[in-house]
């Protein structure tokens, strides 16, 4: 009898532990997602409401014409990302450039804002090929690109 009661008791403890762990996982996930999710900014948004310095975010826009500069070290480039409202954010990237990264086309930069207002990118996502496009660029290439180019005047 006592043995049965004890077994039932232990089963209850197991169920409670399981529930606590699963609910804990859910709450932890919700909390961590709010804090750790990597937000996407357009240049205008980044200027209006800049993210905290050092926080991992992504910046998406068009690479401004004639803005790509190569640094003497041979692996760092700086360029300007702009949007249809002509907001501009300077970006610095050290690494091997994606192959379809050219002026006047869309780019998504993953990285963080530095204290001097430059966006330091760890990774650049450009159009990969005609079939694969990063998700933010998908829409941008369809309408934002036209708008951007119209706003900037005829591209050279």
């Amino acid at each position: 009898m006592t043995n049965g009661l004890k077994a039932k008791h232990q089963r209850l403890i197991l169920v409670v532990i399981a529930l606590v762990a699963l609910i804990g996982a859910g709450l932890l996930a919700a909390w961590a997602l709010r804090n750790q999710a990597n937000y996407f900014y357009l240049p205008g948004q980044m200027i209006a409401e800049p993210p905290e310095v050092g926080q991992a975010v992504r910046l998406g826009g068009m690479v401004q014409q004639d803005s790509i500069r190569n640094m003497p070290d041979g692996v760092t480039v700086s360029f300007i990302v702009t949007d249809k409202d002509s907001a501009v954010v300077p970006v610095r990237f050290t690494g091997i450039l994606p192959d379809l990264f050219v002026e006047g086309s869309g780019v998504v930069a993953e990285g963080r804002l530095a204290a001097d207002g430059t966006f330091v990118a760890d990774n650049l996502l450009a159009k990969h090929d005609e079939n694969y496009v990063p998700r933010e660029l998908q829409e941008m290439d369809q309408h934002k690109a036209d708008e951007t180019l119209v706003a900037q005047g005829p591209a050279t």
């Binding site: 077994a7 197991l14 699963l22 999710a37 041979g74 694969y132």
Partner: protein, 653 residues
């Protein structure tokens, strides 16, 4: 003609699955309806027809029949044969046909070999398998016909994404699909057992080989996929928490939990409802993964909304099967008799703890994967990456690994902690010692430190169940557990080591320059243009020497494909027992004066290969367990038939 044969076979298979469902359902209702004798043959023939259709598709790709739309859009006559064949499943329609084929073959196989379960449960199981099958046949035939003809044959195919023209692709998706779809059998068994309320050790023993088999394929598929991403993308990482990767990880987590709970059910007749639940969840995760990958929803919620036909179809199937199974579970779980009880400090208790932790990790991954889709509906665009997944996952992974180290030492049913005091102290001492050494050497980040410590302790702990036993008489299945647990420790050590000790160097170098990275000295010898069947490339020739030793020649390439036009980087790896040198060549560096310079990116990754060797060990452990279980089942069957034969003899005499 070939395409039409394939299409006809597919329609016939779909018709047979309808027959299988109706006959199975009637047989279930009447006990043994007149159609009952048709259920098993229908399942077998359906499997053969689906396989025939798939072979027809392979044939079309092999001969590059450009009058078929799928071939014209995904293949090219200049491709090597192996990639022509791989192209058959490297696209939406072909991969769905592969999915359906594997599922039909699995259904045919259980119809052919499974004789242990009560016949009614088998009818219910095969009916459930047919019910799931019908949905996917409908999806294939109505919205993704792989055999569709073009009004006029194309002059040349449009090619295949060059990233996918790799030997890894030839085996990676089919391997994962065997795993995904093998879980459909576990799902059907679970539904069948719920319908007839016959959940017990016999059911668990019938289901276990399928779970093990699916789990082995998933493990290999994930391992191969990780290695493929590592060397093909040229980014130096081995896991990106990409939604497509998560789509394969989630069924693996559920299958790992199911694998352990089904063992408890088979050995001790406990955890009945929980095992059924996991059977439903595991295949639900497979279907969710397929939905995520195949609906286009990952590219953008809006892209999904623009062309919603396929996505909506899969979403409907997902809702129907998952919702239906959960509803059935809610209605029937209460009437499945309670299993055997056990104390918390027992083998079962440890397995329950690990099951709960695996479920929590599954929840973390699931929420992290779906969160960007959810926020996008509200027009907030986020991506979720390692800063979320690594710490949130580790909170549950580390306790799980700690319990995993001691769980196999506990006895079934009830045990005392004091009995395993000595091994526990040994394991804890090893972990603390490694942790102390790592922190003194220079802290490499909390997770990497903990990973190294836990890996060391777990590696030793995984062999402790063999202590004091005659190694020749240890059952094969137990060896399987030891090898798989050791594989986890090996993989964890590789992951932690990669994260702690990797070195990276990026530089623009002229011909003749030297770069030092870790113990390596790398110099650029020359660059030259090279050409392949459907690409041209710039090739760098690097001389790399380890610790002043003999230099080896490495040739990374930056390739330009022309069908379709795209550039890829071909990284090169130099593997030693203690790590890998990883080299990528980029564009010609502009800026600066003097001789032309090339961008070179190098990594030295100590012990990184252990990640994949660990994965292979885990799969090998699964294989040993599978062999052990099947052998045990065959032996049991033989003994039973001998007993029955002797009884007959006795009666006749």
């Amino acid at each position: 003609m070939i395409a039409e044969l394939g299409l006809a076979a597919l329609w016939l298979a779909a018709a047979l699955s309808v027959l299988q469902l109706i006959a199975g359902a009637l047989a279930l209702r009447d006990g043994s309806g007149e159609l009952a004798s048709l259920v098993r043959p229908a399942a077998i023939v359906q499997g053969l027809l689906a396989a025939f259709a798939f072979v027809m598709l392979l044939w079309l790709f092999a001969v590059t029949d450009l009058s078929v739309k799928l071939v014209a859009t995904n293949s090219h006559s200049a491709k090597p044969m192996i990639f022509k064949l791989a192209g058959a499943w490297g696209n939406h329609e072909g991969s769905m046909l592969l999915w359906v084929t594997v599922m039909a073959l699995a259904g045919g196989l259980i119809a052919l070999v499974e004789r242990r379960l009560p016949e009614r449960t088998m009818f219910a199981t095969l009916a459930a398998q047919a019910f799931v099958g019908i949905g996917f046949y409908a999806f294939l035939l109505l919205s993704s016909n792989p055999f569709e003809r073009l009004p006029e044959p194309a002059l040349e195919g449009m090619g295949l994404n060059p990233l996918l023209q790799d030997i890894g692709l030839a085996f990676h998706p089919p391997t994962l699909y065997f795993g995904y779809v093998g879980l459909s059998v576990a799902f059907s068994f679970a539904v069948g057992a719920l319908l007839t309320r016959q959940v017990g050790p016999a059911f668990a023993r019938a289901m276990r080989p399928w779970v093990l088999g699916a789990w082995i394929f998933l493990t290999l598929g994930i391992t191969a996929g990780s290695y493929w991403a590592y060397y093909e993308l040229g980014w130096g990482g081995w896991w990106f928490w990409d939604p497509v990767e998560n789509a394969s990880l989630m069924p693996w987590l559920a299958a790992t939990a199911l694998l352990h709970s089904v063992s408890v059910l088979a050995a001790r007749d406990a955890l009945r409802a929980w095992t059924i639940m996991l059977g439903v969840v595991a295949f639900s995760m497979s279907m969710l993964g397929t939905f995520l990958v195949r609906s286009g929803i990952l590219t953008s919620v809006h892209a999904f909304a623009v062309d919603p036909e396929r996505g909506t179809f899969i979403l409907f199937l997902l809702g129907l099967y998952i919702g239906g199974a959960l509803l059935l579970f809610a209605l029937r779980a209460g009437s499945v008799a309670e299993g055997e009880r056990f104390s918390i400090t027992s083998r079962e208790g440890a397995l329950v703890f690990n099951n709960v932790m695996l479920s929590a990790i599954l929840g973390i991954v699931l929420l992290g994967t779906l969160y960007p889709l959810l926020t996008e509906v509200f027009d907030v665009r986020v991506s979720v990456g390692p800063p979320y997944f690594n710490p949130a996952g580790a909170i549950f992974t580390i306790p799980m690994l700690l319990v995993m180290a001691v769980g196999p030492l506990l006895r079934w049913r009830g045990d005392r902690i004091s009995r395993i005091k000595v091994p526990m102290i040994v394991i804890a001492a090893i972990m603390l010692a490694v942790l102390a050494v790592v922190i003194i050497l220079g802290s490499y980040g909390l997770l990497a430190d903990l990973g190294l410590a836990v890996a060391a302790g777990l590696a030793i702990a995984s062999f402790l169940p063999l202590r004091g036993r005659n190694l020749l008489r240890v059952p094969i299945a137990t060896w399987g557990m030891v090898v798989a647990h050791f594989g986890i420790a090996v993989a964890l050590f590789g992951m932690a080591s990669e994260s702690a000790f990797s070195e990276e160097k990026l530089a623009a170098v002229s011909v003749g320059d030297n770069v030092e990275i870790g113990p390596w000295n790398v110099s650029l010898l020359a660059t030259r243009p090279v050409a392949g069947p459907n690409w041209t490339a710039i090739e760098g020739q690097l001389m790399a020497s380890y610790d002043g030793g003999e230099a080896i020649l490495l040739k990374p390439q930056s390739r330009n494909f022309w069908a379709p036009p795209q550039e890829t980087t071909e990284s090169v790896l130099s593997t030693r027992w203690n790590g890998q040198l990883y080299a990528v060549i980029g564009n010609e560096a502009s800026g600066g004066e003097g001789a032309e310079r090339w961008q070179l990116r190098l990594w030295w990754k100590p012990f990184v290969t252990l990640i994949w060797y660990g994965g292979i060990l885990v799969a090998l452990g699964g294989l040993l367990a599978l062999i052990g279980r099947v052998k045990g089942d065959l032996k049991r069957r033989y003994v039973q038939s001998r007993l029955a034969g002797r009884k007959e003899e006795g009666e006749s005499a």
